[in-house]
């Protein structure tokens, strides 16, 4: 099947620096995808090139197999949910959602817009202006405004960043449910690895203008292609060139048999309620964090211990 979006060797130069450096990516239709990376990695620029707000300096952006490099945003069948939502302050929620339908001169705009508002659970608030809506409600209007156009691909720029932490977690499941319900391809940009892992079918991890790895959340977390991916997707303990995740790292008083291990001294332990992080200083130098259950943590600060792990949990990089 033809990918809904394809990037072919796309680069973007700004005066003095290269924001995106020769990236290629194919997104099959109907999935939920994430562009994940630290700020300044080029993920938002990539999204803006897909939306038509920036032109690539080199390479091609293809939608459904045709090059759209030269098409203006209003000529592309993609839609963006902006980080600030960018709702029109002079229009009610309903008129905001109708905005694009009106431009497309589509029939029965109002029933369509009402259905979109129903999809985002805003029925009854259609006559409010953005100033009368909460942050979460504004975001729902922005979503409805884009979804109602049934775009080939929906772009979301840090969609959850402006919400409070509790609402952010609720919206994760809801966004994913919306994607499944509408069947529209979602591509969202985030710097939050937990968000990317929990919501997406596939994650593209970006760093310094490159895509370091594109894979399922399990692949990028369990089999990171580069040390950067390994470190960005979760904490990691380095034993020479071998990486081990904290949840695979164990601590014991006696020397374990038949598994790799190191001498260390307990430095501190941090209690998180459902789990404990035990920090230790390796005798060979460096730090290691072990994520343990409450019951497993019976170590004293300063105590000499053995840090060990299963060879199967090791992460190796070329």
């Amino acid at each position: 099947m033809q990918p809904v979006l394809e990037l072919r060797h796309v680069s973007k130069d700004f005066p003095g620096h290269r924001a995106v450096d020769n990236i290629s990516l194919e997104l099959p239709r109907g999935g939920f995808y994430a562009l994940l990376g630290p700020s300044g990695c080029g993920k938002t620029t990539t999204l803006r090139m897909i939306g038509g707000f920036e032109q690539p300096s080199a390479g091609d952006v293809l939608l459904n197999g045709s090059v759209v490099n030269a098409l203006k945003p209003f000529e592309r069948d993609v839609s963006t949910v902006f980080q600030s939502y960018a709702l029109f302050p002079h229009l009610t929620a309903l008129r905001n959602v109708e905005f694009g339908l009106r431009e497309r001169k589509l029939a029965d705009r109002e029933p369509r817009a009402m259905r979109a508002l129903e999809l985002v659970q805003l029925t009854g608030k259609q006559d409010r202006t953005p100033a009368q809506l909460s942050g979460g409600e504004k975001q729902r209007v922005a979503l409805a405004r884009s979804l109602v156009l049934e775009p080939q691909i929906l772009l979301l720029d840090e969609p959850l960043a402006a919400l409070d932490p509790k609402l952010r977690k609720e919206m994760r499941a809801e966004l994913k449910a919306m994607q499944r319900k509408t069947g529209i391809t979602f591509l969202f940009v985030t710097h939050d690895q937990e968000e990317a892992l929990s919501m997406s079918d596939k994650v593209a991890v970006m760093n310094q203008g490159h895509i370091e790895q594109f894979g399922t959340p399990e692949e990028v977390y369990l089999r990171p292609a580069t040390p950067f991916v390994a470190g960005f997707l979760g904490a990691i303990n380095w034993f020479g060139k071998t990486g081990v995740r904290p949840e695979s790292t164990r601590v014991s008083r006696d020397k374990p048999d038949g598994v790799p291990c190191r001498r260390a001294a307990i430095e501190s332990s941090l209690f998180f309620g459902n789990r404990v992080h035990v920090n230790s200083v390796l005798d060979e130098g460096g730090l290691a964090v072990a994520e343990l259950s409450r019951e497993q943590n019976h170590f004293e600060e300063g105590e000499a211990v053995w840090i060990h792990w299963e060879p199967a949990d090791e992460l190796h990089f070329e």
Partner: protein, 276 residues
Amino acid sequence: MSLRSRFLLPARVWMALFFAAPMAIVLSYSFLTRGEYGGVEQPWTVENFIRLADPIYLSILWRSIWIAGLSTALCALLGFPLALFISRSGRRRNLYLQLVLLPFWTSFLVRTYAWLFILRDTGLVNTVLMRLNIIATPMQLLYNDRAVLLGLVCNFLPFFVLPMYATLERLDPALLEAAADLGARPFATLRRVIIPVSAPGFVAGSVLVFIPCLGAYLTPDLLGGGKTVMLGNLVQNQFTTARDWPFGSAASLVLMLASALLLASLMRSRMARELT
């Protein structure tokens, strides 16, 4: 005396001496009778206000509203694109703003006289056109409504551009991107997003142009040649040549009332909009 009222005292004294007292004088004059050689006399009367309802004076009132309205519309028509252009000019916008303010470096009176020299029969425009043999006899460019409009628009355009610019400068660029994203071409974005969102700038600019235009007397006097009489000229004449101070006071009160009513209705519609 609290600190707050101590701080406000100078302003209060100033307003009482130079605003409230003159207003009271104008108000009381408007209900008195004309003195033989100017000034005012007893008895008290409402005759001056009844005289203002005369069709001659009503037509002057309407004419003033019409010319001020037309000037405001022209300022909006010229000022909005200019303000939009300046707000999108990046680093050069401070330069452009200075240029908009440049006329204020010279006196209002001098600028109006300059138009006399440009537009009169032996002025710049007619001389050039006659030398080029485009016209044989001078065109009558002065002493009509168009000359008054030109003078008013020229003088008051910056008063529209500045508040309009302040509004457009605050316009969130993401709104324009969102409009384009939803399929709006640039003109549709202008019509459906930029203009409605910058409505407060239109209101502020229009008020700042309309009210001084309504009371203008210098520009219609010089460029209209006394033929284009506006309310401001009426007031001026009553205090000078006609020596009818009570009637002049009544006319100026009506002028003030018209401006105040307009402002109040605008504030009200704006408040109503914000409350819904």
